[in-house]
């Protein structure tokens, strides 16, 4: 590989890298932003607290009064699921 080949490879690499780095942000910026949620059964949701007393009202994903960032539908403050994350 001579010097001109190296320079050509570098230019081509820079172009590819720039396109790669720009493609995802562009895709992220241009696609609509819907919040996806899981079915209650996907995360083993139930309307009662865990055995150790942990419940949705103390979960980081809980949205008062009866919502959740990741579980779809009506969510009880006294419920619990396997995605529980301490607030």
């Amino acid at each position: 590989m001579d010097a001109s080949d190296v320079m050509r490879a570098r230019r081509w690499f820079l172009l590819r890298s720039t396109l790669m780095a720009a493609a995802l942000p562009m895709a992220a910026a241009t696609c609509p932003a819907h919040a996806n949620k899981a079915d209650k059964t996907d995360l083993a949701y139930r309307d009662k607290p865990a055995a150790n007393g942990k419940r949705c009202s103390s979960c980081a994903s809980f949205v008062a009064p009866r919502g959740c960032r990741v579980v779809d539908g009506d969510v009880s403050p006294d419920g619990w699921c396997i995605a529980y994350s301490e607030k």
């Binding site: 590989m1 190296v6 570098r10 690499f13 820079l14 590819r16 890298s17 720039t18 790669m20 780095a21 720009a22 995802l24 942000p25 895709a27 992220a28 910026a29 696609c31 609509p32 932003a33 819907h34 919040a35 996806n36 949620k37 899981a38 079915d39 209650k40 059964t41 996907d42 995360l43 083993a44 139930r46 150790n52 942990k54 980081a60 994903s61 960032r69 990741v70 699921c81 396997i82 995605a83 529980y84 994350s85 301490e86």
Partner: protein
């Protein structure tokens, strides 16, 4: 290209990637899967990267759960120290950074939800030992579903650059224990092709269905990361493409969760057929025919306080070395190779973990392939048989930081317990102490 210019070139690659990410990072803060979902790491991981039922659900649904982040960027750094048991009077050419603290790797991730049904996991890694940066595991995934509750059918498509990267159980090679290992120790002379032999060398596309949260089925196909897919191997040497044509891959698994999601189990099978080029290419016999067939199983018990998991997998590789044999690269035209991996994990309070793994590689002897005459890496008996244990202790003072102490014992290395290389080296000489700090941010 001389060494210094190649280092500058490698550093430039990483710098470009970091700058592209950090430029927007300043404006948009740091998003990641955790930021996207609002969940703790330990909701999706028994202990990262091992997936829980929540993590598997997240991946099967295309990394789309939660709120889309403007820029899903994250980072990872692993620093480590390795001490090989003995050099037995040999030079340390095979152990260039042994007994040193090294920056093992630094990675940047662009990983997250792109649209309602489309997500990405992508990684760019700087190898601190080889001083080289390149694309790492990368996957684009589309997912959708019909039905609801236990009758839901999730279906999707995947495009990725490492066979089994797309799998959601930690029994397949891409995300199997050990999750990190020494970058400087010697390793057994052979492994199955599907076990990392094509990583970042290929582009794979496929479709999958996740039926009633019970049955997972997938069909994929691989081709070389060239032409349109060249970027899937960016930074790696793809000047000699690995695959001859298109290679099929299949996966079938049956899984069940019970006890309010605390317990889960899976039993499955997967396999692939690869036609692999041998260089220089002989038009009469351009490629070897490699067929991998595997069975695997996993069990997990997960609570906040106690977390237990078991994984096992056996890969049987049938090798039709017609091209290698014609080229004089092997002694036997057909061979078998088996790779067994078992692992048990226990975590207390999600902070303190102990892992024990067993591995065994067994294959047909081949004097040309394995008896290279090289000390340390060769096999005097011409056998690839190697087996041993890996024990690892983990401590996670914070959810994103792991310190680990790993020790690898070899019962057998390249065919023998004692004097395996014919130069007096024993399998136990390759036992390795590996200490690491693993930081995610």
């Amino acid at each position: 290209m001389n060494i210094s210019s190649s280092r500058i070139y490698a550093a430039g690659r990483l710098l470009i990637f970091l700058l592209c990410g950090l430029t927007v990072l300043e404006a948009q803060a740091v998003p990641s899967f955790r930021r996207q979902t609002g969940l703790e790491c330990t909701a999706c991981h028994l202990s990262w990267p091992e997936l829980t039922a929540v993590g598997r659900n997240f991946k099967l649904n295309g990394y789309t759960l939660g709120d889309k982040q403007a820029l899903p960027i994250a980072g990872m750094v692993i620093g480590s120290y390795t001490k090989t048991n003995s050099f037995s009077g040999n030079s340390n050419d095979n152990f260039p950074r042994d007994n040193e603290v090294v920056l093992q790797q630094a990675s940047v991730f662009l990983s997250g939800k792109i649209s309602e049904h489309f997500g990405v996991f992508s990684q760019w890694t700087y190898d601190g030992v080889a001083h080289h940066s390149a694309i790492d595991n990368t996957e684009f995934r589309y997912a959708n579903s019909v039905g609801s509750g236990n009758d839901k059918i999730v279906f999707g498509a995947t495009l990725h650059n490492n066979p089994t990267l797309q799998d959601v159980w930690n029994t397949t090679p891409a995300f199997r224990f050990p999750f990190t290992s020494t970058p400087v120790g010697v390793t057994p002379v052979d492994s199955a092709l599907i076990d990392g032999g094509l990583a970042q060398q290929v582009a794979g596309g496929g479709a999958y269905v996740w039926w009633h949260k019970t049955v997972y089925a997938e069909l994929s196909a691989y081709r070389n990361a060239t032409h349109l897919f060249r970027w899937f191997g960016e930074g790696t040497d793809t000047s000699q493409p690995a695959l001859d044509g298109v290679s099929p891959y299949w996966r079938l698994a049956v899984s069940q969760d019970w006890d309010d999601g605390k317990q889960s189990a899976m039993i499955g099978t997967y396999g692939a057929k690869f036609d692999k080029f041998v260089y220089p290419i002989d038009p009469a016999n351009p490629s070897d025919r490699i067929r991998d067939t595997a069975v695997d199983a996993q069990y997990q018990y997960i609570t906040d306080e106690h977390r237990v998991s078991f994984q096992g997998g056996l890969i049987r590789e049938h090798r039709d070395y017609r091209a290698s044999f014609a080229a004089g690269g092997v002694s036997n035209a057909t061979q078998k190779f088996d790779e067994l991996n078992l692992k048990a994990t226990y975590y207390y309070d999600r902070k303190y973990g102990i892992n024990l793994g067993y591995f065994s590689n067994r294959g047909d002897s081949d004097q040309t392939l394995y008896n290279t005459g090289d000390p340390i890496t060769g096999s005097a008996s011409g056998s690839p048989n190697s087996s041993g244990w890996i024990a690892e202790l983990n401590w996670l003072p914070f959810r994103d930081i792991r310190f680990g102490l790993q020790y690898t014992w070899y019962n057998k290395f390249n065919g023998a317990r004692n004097n395996y290389d014919g130069a007096g080296r024993n399998a136990s000489d390759n036992n390795t102490l590996y200490v690491f700090g693993w930081f995610m941010f």
